[in-house]
Amino acid sequence: MIALHDVTKSFHPGKENQFTAVRNVGLTIAPGRLTVLKGPSGSGKTTLLTLIGCMARPTSGRIVLSGGGIAGFPGGEEIRELEITSLPERFLAGIRRATFGFIFQHFNLLRGISVLENVMLPAYPTGERHGEIRRRAAELLTVFDVARHAHARVDRLSGGEAQRVAIARALINRPSVIVADEPTAHLDTDLSRGFMEIVGSFKSDGKTVLIASHDPIVCDSSRVDTVVEMRDGRILRSGSTP
C-alpha cells in the first residue's frame, strides 16, 4: 500500500520559472486495486506518477510504502513500513526495479537492440543469471504472442505489438505494482479494449495497477476501482466507483 502525505513537487524552486506540478497531495493507493488518475494534460498526473513510482523525490511531504515487505530494499522482507521520501537514489532505484513496472505513452523501446533484449533490459542490473532472464523474457513474449518478433528490430513492430512488448518489459522483474502513463494514447479502440483486458489479468494476478489517462475507455471501464480527478496539481475528487 502506498501512502502520500501532503506531497508537493515544484521544479526550479526559487527561480523565476518556478513551476509547482503537484500541490499538497494526500493519497493512498490500495493494493490489488486499479486506480485511475483522471485530468487534462498539465494537471500533474505524470509528475504524481513519477513520485509514486520512486522515479523522483518530492520537494516536501512524505511518501510511505507499507504492507507485505518492501521488495528491492536490503532486508526489506521484515520491514512493515518504510518512508522512502529521502532515500538515496541507489535505494529508490532498487525498490523501483523490484516493485514497479512502467508502461510509457511512447512505449520507450530501444531501437538498436532486438525485442528480446529490450524485454530483458530492466533485469540486467539485478545480477540475475543471464539464462534465467532470457527464459522469463521468452515466456512473457509468448504470453503476449509477440514471440515471433523475438529477434527482430523494434522499429518493425506495429503499434499494438510495440505496446505488448512494452508491457512484457514492465513485467520482467515480476513487479507487484504496474504504473502506466497514457497507455492508450496511440492505440485505436480495439487495441485499447485489448489493453484493458490485459489490465484485468493484472488485477486477477493480485497486482496493483495505477493508470494516468483521460481516455474514456480507460476511465469509465468497469474494472476501475478508484478514480482520482486532478486539476492544476490538486486532487478535486477521489471516489471509488460503485
Binding site: T46, T47, L49, T50, M55, A56, E89, R90, L92, A93, G94, R96, R97, F102, F104, H106, N108, L109, L110, R111, G112, I113, E117, L121, P122, A123, Y124, P125, T126, G127, E128, R129, H130, I133, R169, N173, D181
Partner: protein, 378 residues
C-alpha cells in the same frame, strides 16, 4: 559473488551492443587509440632493447681509453705514453689503437677505417663490415678503391665480410693492416689515435684513470662504465623527449576522447533516459560507461602493444628507420633481442590508458545523471 559477476557481465553485454550500435564513432576512436599505444610502445620497446643490446655488446670495450687533447680537440697520442702508463700499478696491457673516418664521395657514406692488432688482414687486403659491403655492393674477393690522403685511389681486396649479425657494432668498419692505414692517412710512425688500457680489477679502474690524468694533464681517460652509461642516457633523455612529443599526441587524443564522450547524440541521451526509467540507477549507467571505455581501452592497449612488439622485434622498427637514419647513407640492419618486461607495460598503461580513463570520467558522469523521470515527460 556470482550476482556481482553476472551484473558486470550483463552490463558489459549492453555496453558492447551500444558500442556496436555507434560503429563509426567507436571504431575511429579505437583506431586512434591503438595508434597512440603503438607509437609509445614502439618507442619504449625500441629504446629499452637498444640500451640492453649496447650494454651486452659493449662489455667487450676497452677498460680505459686514453686520448690526447690539444686545444680541446683530440690529437694523436705519442706511442711513448704506452711505457709510462704500463708502469702504473694495476695496469695490464696497453695497446695503441689506430683508427679514423673516411668519407666516400661516390656513395656519400662515412666509414670507420681501423687497424686492429688481432688477426691482421694482410697488406693490400681488407675486412669490411656488411654495411660497407651493402653500400658499395662488393663481396669477398672484389676490389675496394679508397682514396689516400694525397688523392691517389689505392685498391684493397676484400678478404672477409664481418658477420651480418654483428652489424650493430661493425656495420661501417673497414679493417686494414697497420702499414696500409698509416700510408692512407699519412699517420706519423710514432703516434696512434688513442690507447686502450686494460685494468684487471674493476675497482682499480677509477684510481688508475685518476693517476693517468694526473701524470698526463693533457690526456683524457674514458672509463668503460662511462662508455656504457653513454648508452643508458642515449635514448632516455631523448627517448623522454620523444615521449614528450608523443605526450602532445596523447593530449590531443584525450581531448578527442573527451569530445567523443561529451558529444552525446540525442539518441544516446534518450537511450540513457529510458535505461534510467526502466530501473537502472546512476551507478549502473556509470558502470555501463566504464565498461564501454574499458572495452575500447583493453582492445586498443593489447592490439597496440602486440603490433609494436612485432614491428620492433620482427621488422626491427623499419617504420622508424627514416626518422632514426637521419642524414646517414649507411644504416645498420640489425635484429634486436626482445626484452620486454611487465615494468614497461605498466609505464605504457600509465601513459595511455590512465589519461583516457580520467578524461572520460566527468563526461560519463554527466551523461549518467539524467533524471529517471525525464523519459516520462519527453
Amino acid at each position: 559473488m556470482n550476482r556481482f559477476v553476472e551484473r558486470h557481465r550483463s552490463i558489459l553485454d549492453f555496453a558492447l551492443s551500444s558500442l556496436l550500435r555507434r560503429k563509426g564513432k567507436n571504431i575511429s576512436l579505437w583506431v586512434v587509440y591503438t595508434l597512440i599505444v603503438f607509437l609509445i610502445a614502439a618507442i619504449v620497446f625500441y629504446t629499452h632493447a637498444l640500451k640492453r643490446e649496447a650494454a651486452m655488446i659493449l662489455q667487450g670495450a676497452p677498460d680505459i681509453v686514453v686520448q690526447k687533447m690539444v686545444a680541446g680537440r683530440q690529437d694523436l697520442v705519442p706511442v711513448g705514453y704506452v711505457g709510462k702508463i704500463a708502469a702504473i700499478r694495476g695496469v695490464g696491457a696497453v695497446r695503441p689503437r689506430l683508427w679514423g673516418y673516411y668519407y666516400d664521395a661516390v656513395t656519400g657514406a662515412n666509414y670507420t677505417l681501423m687497424a686492429p692488432d688481432g688477426s691482421l688482414p694482410g697488406p693490400g687486403t681488407a675486412d669490411i663490415g656488411s654495411g660497407v659491403a651493402r653500400t658499395l655492393r662488393v663481396v669477398e674477393g672484389d676490389f675496394l678503391p679508397i682514396r689516400a690522403v694525397d688523392g691517389v685511389p689505392t685498391l684493397f681486396q676484400v678478404r672477409k665480410v664481418l658477420p651480418y649479425a654483428s652489424e650493430l657494432a661493425t656495420s661501417d668498419l673497414i679493417l686494414l693492416s697497420e702499414d696500409d692505414l698509416r700510408a692512407l692517412f699519412a699517420f706519423p710512425r710514432g703516434f696512434a689515435t688513442d690507447l686502450a688500457v686494460t685494468v684487471e680489477n674493476p675497482a682499480e679502474r677509477a684510481t688508475v684513470a685518476a693517476k693517468i690524468a694526473a701524470q698526463f694533464p693533457e690526456s683524457r681517460p674514458i672509463l668503460n662504465s662511462e662508455i656504457l652509461r653513454t648508452y643508458d642516457s642515449i635514448f632516455d633523455w631523448r627517448g623522454g623527449m620523444m615521449v614528450v612529443m608523443l605526450g602532445v599526441a596523447v593530449f590531443s587524443f584525450v581531448i578527442f576522447a573527451w569530445d567523443k564522450a561529451t558529444g552525446l547524440s540525442a539518441e544516446e541521451r534518450r537511450e540513457i533516459g529510458i535505461l534510467k526509467s526502466v530501473g537502472w540507477e546512476t551507478g549502473d549507467v556509470l558502470l555501463l560507461k566504464f565498461w564501454e571505455g574499458a572495452a575500447i581501452s583493453l582492445a586498443a592497449f593489447l592490439c597496440g602493444v602486440i603490433l609494436a612488439y612485432v614491428q620492433v622485434f620482427f621488422f626491427s622498427a623499419s617504420l622508424f628507420e627514416p626518422a632514426l637514419k637521419g642524414w646517414a647513407v649507411l644504416y645498420p640492419r640489425f635484429k634486436l633481442v626482445p626484452d620486454v618486461d611487465p615494468y614497461q607495460l605498466a609505464v605504457l598503461f600509465f601513459l595511455t590508458v590512465v589519461p583516457y580513463t580520467v578524461a572520460t570520467i566527468i563526461p560519463s558522469w554527466r551523461a549518467a545523471t539524467v533524471d529517471p523521470d525525464a523519459a516520462m515527460r519527453s
